[in-house]
Amino acid sequence: MAEACHAGRGRPTAVADAGVALRVALAGNPNVGKTSLFNRLTGSRQHVGNWPGKTIERRTGTCRFVGRGGPAEVAFVDLPGTYSLAASSPEEVVAEQALTGGEVDVVATVLDTTNLERNLYLAAQVAELGVRQVLVLNLSDAARAEGVRADAERLAAAFGVPVVRTAARTGEGVDDLLTVLGDAARPTVRVDYGSALEAELAALETLLTATPADPATWRWLALKLLEGDPTTRTVVAGLPAGVTVVAAAEAAIGRLRAVEGVDPALLVADRRYAWAHHLASQVTVRAPAGRPRTDRLDDVLTHPWFGVPILLALMWLVFTLVVEVAAPFVGWIEAFVAGPLRTGGAAVFGTLGLGGSWVEGLVLGGALAGVGAVLVFVPVLALLYVALGVLEDSGYLARAAYLMDRVMAPIGLSGKSFLPLLLGFGCNVPAVYATRVLERRRERVLTALLLPFVSCAARLPVYVLLASVFFPTWRGTVVFAMYVVSIVTVLGFGAVLDRLLLREERGGSFVLELPSYRTPSPRVLGRYVQQRVGAFVRNAGTVILGASVLVWVLLAIPVGGGGGRFADVPLEDSAFAAASSVVAPALAPAGLGSWEMAGTLLSGMVAKEVVVATLWQVHAPQDGSDDDRAEDAEGESGLSGPLRASLAASSGGHPGPAAAALLVFVLLYVPCVATVAAIRQELGGRWAALSVGMSLTVAWLAATAVFQGGRLLGTLAGMG
């Protein structure tokens, strides 16, 4: 009967909010298949955004469902996976606010059938909220495989709400869930917290009768007050007659501490867990089985000796997959944009009589180049998301985090940050998106802010060129040193950021769940890849396109006495050169105070690949044909002479130290607009601005130190 829902898939219809008959939130622990279930329920009719003011993903969607009352629109929101509603992490705050804010009619609490005890802890908390609820025994396929049976009837009787069995991976039971949503009820379950706590709770509930708070929430409010939750305290204190309740709660906390010897918050958690433990043992039957498959796989994959080599081999595989497999697609896209698309565009402009005009230049040279710059990332990102999705959904990612945790702990990160940082050596852009796998916001922020210092592959050609020209004998060593500097900066700066940023979210216990291994579902994976890549094109794509057009315009505007026309200016007379001259003095302490160097670095902010090209343009514009460039970038350079002369001029006669400073600057400053756009998309504009400011500052300081130090050493050596 829920077939209508499935039929609606693939042709999303705009749904007015007014048409929504029921608003349902999916709550549950991490790794219980909540998102798979959400995908099953909503199909393509979903929207991924962020929770207001938070960098936590908010997934909403609708489903058209023909129930007893005729067709109806059901709206779903997928809450962040949490173990509790204790408001001790941003995810928990979001989940709790969504459930208590009155935006939801029914909560479907999704449970892992194979692991009821811990899951019932959260279900009990949701029940205490006083919201209409249904329980979903998900992963019932995995439970069958493991010989675990859960008694749905007994569970339903205990909670006083409907219970359905589902297997989101196969779609089993999803229609039953839709049917049962209409029968959702306020839970009748009551956790017994022991006589001392219950007496205090009863007293507080009596006091709450004098306030306008909804009776269904009294027990929840009383519990939260006894737990000392500051938000609840503020909310209740704001109610008429609420101040009395808060004062009574404070006194009760003191009494309970004296009687029980521990914090009431702990007592509540402990009693609730004991209750969940007891209920789970009553409703679950576990057939005696051999060692679970997960254990046998872990014997190999998390082996004390082989675990890390296997991890590195898998990472290499991901790396290769993302870079190598994407390469031909990237090539095709580049060829298509530069070839047919450009020729076609030129033909269109020709027909319109605009051939050779500045409009054509703007569209083909600025906008089209920008579109190309966005599109080349698509195959890379699609493959990255496939790899990430498989690693995460299979359960392996948690093992990788377990193995690498020791390495990341000194900089305030956990093992999970290892993967994004490693990917950063390929390209910072997908690496920023890979920070999504980190559960805690603090870790996402710290990792994303460190990523720009990870030397991506696009910086390598710059190192090779500069090292070949200025340090030919030490070429290899210099390039290697750049990677050492990169790693040292990440570790050193990581330790600094760990002490400075988001200190209130620092520490906390690192407890990492190692979920059972499961075969990833291609369906969930496909949707994940599609959503992520779509979001990149929409969000980051706009920024990259804008930057590309901006640079084109700056290059096109004639400034000064050269006498060029718009879109037909020698480089040194363009607004770009003028802007570079303005920036140049700031780079003088690093020995890079010329418009050529400033311009090179400015254009490098668009993409590091551009640095080598700009060095050519500004130093050897007369014979910079593409063939020469490709050849000469390798080393035997026609660029060598002009570049030496240019750096000697910009540094007051110290080209060597200036070249070293340039290398360091290129390594450390803003990687590219695409990375900044990615950070902005993931964390918001303020973090992106901080990232830009930080990397410019660090690059300037380091480059200045290198130049001044190098110059001093040179002088000393000259004297001796």
Binding site: S88, Y121, D405
Partner: protein, 78 residues
């Protein structure tokens, strides 16, 4: 004995958690609470986290935290 010292593939019972209230509560919510039976499955290399079985779930816990958890042998184990 603290949890950090427990040999691999040994089941123990949590006796006391000497952690700050916030962290203790977090562990309690995951089932790492007074009286719970847990099993140390593995140790990560270079002093990395411990892999534990708590109920039917697996968790990784850092050694620094494990050192704050007092345990005793499982009853019947001697």
């Amino acid at each position: 004995v603290t949890l950090a010292e427990v040999p691999v593939r040994t089941a123990v019972v949590i006796h006391a958690l000497a952690l700050p209230p916030g962290e203790r509560r977090r562990l309690t919510e995951l089932g790492l609470r007074h009286g719970a039976r847990i099993e140390v499955l593995r140790r990560a290399p270079f002093g990395g986290p411990l892999a534990l079985r708590v109920g039917s779930a697996l968790f990784a816990l850092r050694l620094a935290q494990a050192a704050q958890v007092a345990v005793r042998p499982e009853p019947g184990d001697g």
